[in-house]
Amino acid sequence: MTGMAVFEEISPADFFYRNRDIAGFSSPSRAIYSTLRELIENSLDACEAVRVLPEVRITLRELRPSPTGAFFYSVRVVDNGSGVPGDKIPQAFGQVLFGSKFRLKQTRGTFGLGGTMAILYGQITTEMPAHIVSSTGDRYIHDYELMIDIQKNKPNVLRYKVHTNRDGWHGTLVEFTMEGDYTRAMPKVLDYLKQTAIVNPYADITFVDPKGRLYVFERTIRKLPSPPKETLPHPYGVDAETLYRLIAMTNTKSLSAFLMEHFHRVGKSLAGKVLERANLDPNRSPKTLTPSEVSDLANVMRSFEDFLPPDASCLSPLGEEILEAGIRKELNPEFVFVTKRKPSAYSGYPFIVEVGIAYGGGIPRTGDIVLYRFANRIPLLYDETSDVSWKVIHNLMDWRYYKVNPAEDPLAIIIHLCSTKIPYKTVGKEFLSDRPEIEREILNGVRLAARNLMLYLMRKRRFEIGKKRFDLYARYLPKIARFSTLLSGHKKEPDIGPLLAKVSSLGLESPGKMKGREGSHEQSPKEEGSS
């Protein structure tokens, strides 16, 4: 028999090396964008982790042309964040699927791939080591040069030095070379930075691009969003696999204690009810459960109606003040309304939706609503039409009801979703899948925002109408006086002064009041002779 298959195993680093398209490194221009983005997001996370107002300095230098018609660049990002402990640095930057982002806590990155993928890509395209300098603010600054052993998925340290940290500096510097195409990536990169500034108005970001141009995104508010807390899993998100893991590691002696200790918002009485429904003795040791009992328990937990929704303390929304500051700073609109929705949950993961609407001023008329999408403070730039927000705005909203014309009005909508787990559809982190719970919250937020915009526009129009009103009287009363005088054959025109005075002082009935039987005659003009 011929053609027998050969079976083999590959490492995760090797897998992503072979399939780098799916992580956002499909072309030189995309690679530049993805690299900057991953590094900036890691920096911002590292700052917020230690409650420091972020300062991120980015430098991209062009080195020489590459053989494929693109260029080689040196990329360097420095932040004032938490820093990485010296002994973790090699793995954190030289091993795929290693990192600090696998817990149930809101962070920007999700897959634990980004930073290492960027370094991996740089290594593949230039075969040069990466340079990492970091300190957690203690007495030492750690300084590494390393490469990734792709087949083994292990870091390979080429050089390691320790410096004395005289100034108590904390933060991380990442520097490496890579192939890329900045010219083509530039619009997206600048767009990304601008949008990042919208949701991080408390950050100070500078970027020196390969042409030597300096872009500054200044801090306009000195308030950080409240920090997220780590949380236990919510029972709704549990499956048998999770239960197995927890049973293996628990120290609890009874099922009742097991549920209370390892799950979010489960108290004694709720634990009892759940176990009763699952036909399990609350005092039994969790270690004694059979596979089918584990499976039953998981099913009961997922379908039990009385759990409280997950606590949102593990989330860190921007808050209305920060979001509004960011929108005003970067978009400079005539009108802004922002709203933070109450916490909600999907599949046991808590989330909060924040919605902003911006009208007029610096918002351009593009023939459509300008949509800014953010997930855990990351701007989402690609594949807008696949995103649930796009669906909400274009398919679910009836804008006519809010007297808004998306094709004509200068309008921007800002959607920020924060969650312990963002439901991306792809590793490229570009758009959200349409979970019904999230869709509903976005829709309600956009509705509230639209309602407030409508009220603003109505007030604005009312004011303008009042101004026009007097002008109309001043224009037409003299004519009515003149022609009625001519028609009736009087010599002297009547005095319109008293009537004009009434208009300006008393304020006549509003136009709306005159409708009905005695209203204005609104028959439309017709052609002579037709009927």
């Binding site: 009103r469 109309l472 009287y473 224009r475 037409y476 009363l477 004519k479 009515i480 006086a481 022609f483 009625s484 005088t485 001519l486 028609l487 009736s488 054959g489 009087h490 009547p494 005095d495 319109i496 008293p498 009537l499 009434k502 006549l508 009935e509 136009p511 005159m514 039987r517 005695e518 209203g519 204005s520 005659h521 609104e522 028959q523 439309s524 003009p525 017709k526 002579e528 002779g529 037709s530 009927s531």
Partner: protein, 357 residues
């Protein structure tokens, strides 16, 4: 009512309009003008008069309402212009009026707006705009053995027999205001299209049927409708109407017979005893006329006509149903398939017999 008397009354009513507004303003109250509503809900068919009339609902144009300011100013201006035209014996058109407004700095955003104000003025005065000398631009024409005497300045007392010119005489302000002196015709045949009018003249239908021929060129202007009414009322001529065989042709006949909802505020335009003599839907079948399928618009129109009180007679019902059944329509010229003379030699005699005329 004599022409002189009409003129006097028009002028008096115009003055009363101005006087009312003037007095209110002098008393320091926001002036208002009340008139019959022309909204659809206030238009009723009067079976006695056999035409549309306005009901009792009124509307108020009041300067209290800011949206009424401009129409009120426009209305008074239009009254002022009407007064000048009537006193000076001049005529004008709706379009002239639209431009004249600019001289007095009265703004109309388009001619539709100024036309509508003229209709307001008609409603208030109870007189058609021809009575204050505003004429339409479209013209119909007439031919036949009727002698008229002009009343317009410069032609007073001069007479003309309307058989003088076989291509037809234009029905304009001078003919409309002329008196009838002598008539040898026994019937008035109203024809929708100029080509058919020429055919009737050529085939000497005016001799064979002792007929006055009028061509309307589509929906007849009001001046023509009034002339037809006068021929019927003053001279006792029976009137038959010959149109294309489709809902639009039927409606030309109906507007001549029963007036239009648009002119419900006016009287003396309708000729209730006039008869529609074709092209019927049944003619399309009986004469095997070349025909076209009804369009969706045609069909929609037919269903509207079914609900219209003016179409309650047997004939209308039968023909509307037949149109809807055969779903086809035909033009007057369709008779040409049997040769050019067929319509006068065969069809018209058949029809007169059928209508017992």
């Amino acid at each position: 009512m004599s022409r002189a008397l009409r003129k006097k009354e028009v002028l008096e009513r115009l003055k009363a309009l101005g006087e009312g507004v003037y007095t209110q303003m002098q008393r320091g109250i926001f002036p208002a003008v009340r008139m019959a509503s022309r909204s659809v809900r206030n238009i009723d068919y009067d079976p006695h008069l056999r035409q549309y009339v306005l009901g009792d609902q009124k509307v108020l144009r009041s300067a209290r309402n800011v949206r009424h300011l401009r129409p009120l100013a426009q209305l008074l201006w239009a009254g002022h212009v009407a007064r000048s035209l009537v006193s000076q014996g001049k005529t004008s058109t709706l379009r002239d009026l639209f431009y004249m407004a600019q001289a007095d700095e009265v703004h109309f955003k388009d001619q539709a707006e100024s036309d509508n104000i003229v209709t307001d003025l008609e409603t208030i005065l109870g007189y058609a705009r021809e009575d204050f000398h505003v004429f339409p631009e479209e013209r119909s024409s007439i031919f036949g053995d009727l002698t008229i005497e002009y009343t317009v300045p410069g032609y007073e007392g001069r007479r003309l027999n309307l058989m003088s010119h076989p291509d037809g005489l234009v029905i304009g302000p001078t003919l409309t205001s002329a008196e009838f002196v002598h008539c040898n015709a026994k019937i008035c045949i109203v024809i929708e299209k100029g080509a058919m009018f020429t055919r009737f003249v050529e085939e000497k239908a005016y001799e064979r049927f002792k007929a006055l021929l009028i061509q309307t060129a589509g929906q007849p202007p009001r001046a023509t409708r009034r002339l037809i009414r006068r021929l019927n009322q003053e001279l006792g001529l029976p009137v038959i109407i010959f149109t294309d065989g489709d809902p639009w042709g039927m409606h030309i006949a109906t507007v001549i017979i029963s007036g239009s909802a648009n002119a419900a505020h006016l009287r003396e335009l309708a000729t209730p005893d006039a008869k529609w003599c074709g092209v019927y839907a049944t003619d399309i079948v009986n004469y095997k006329l070349p025909s076209d399928p009804l369009t969706e618009l045609d069909i929609k129109r037919l269903y509207e006509l079914k609900k219209d009180p003016r179409y309650e007679g047997e004939l209308w019902k039968r023909e509307i149903d037949m149109f809807l059944k055969i779903r086809r329509k035909a033009e007057q010229e369709a008779f040409s398939r049997y040769g050019l003379t067929y319509i006068v030699d065969k069809y018209l005699p058949d029809k007169l017999k059928e209508l017992a005329l």
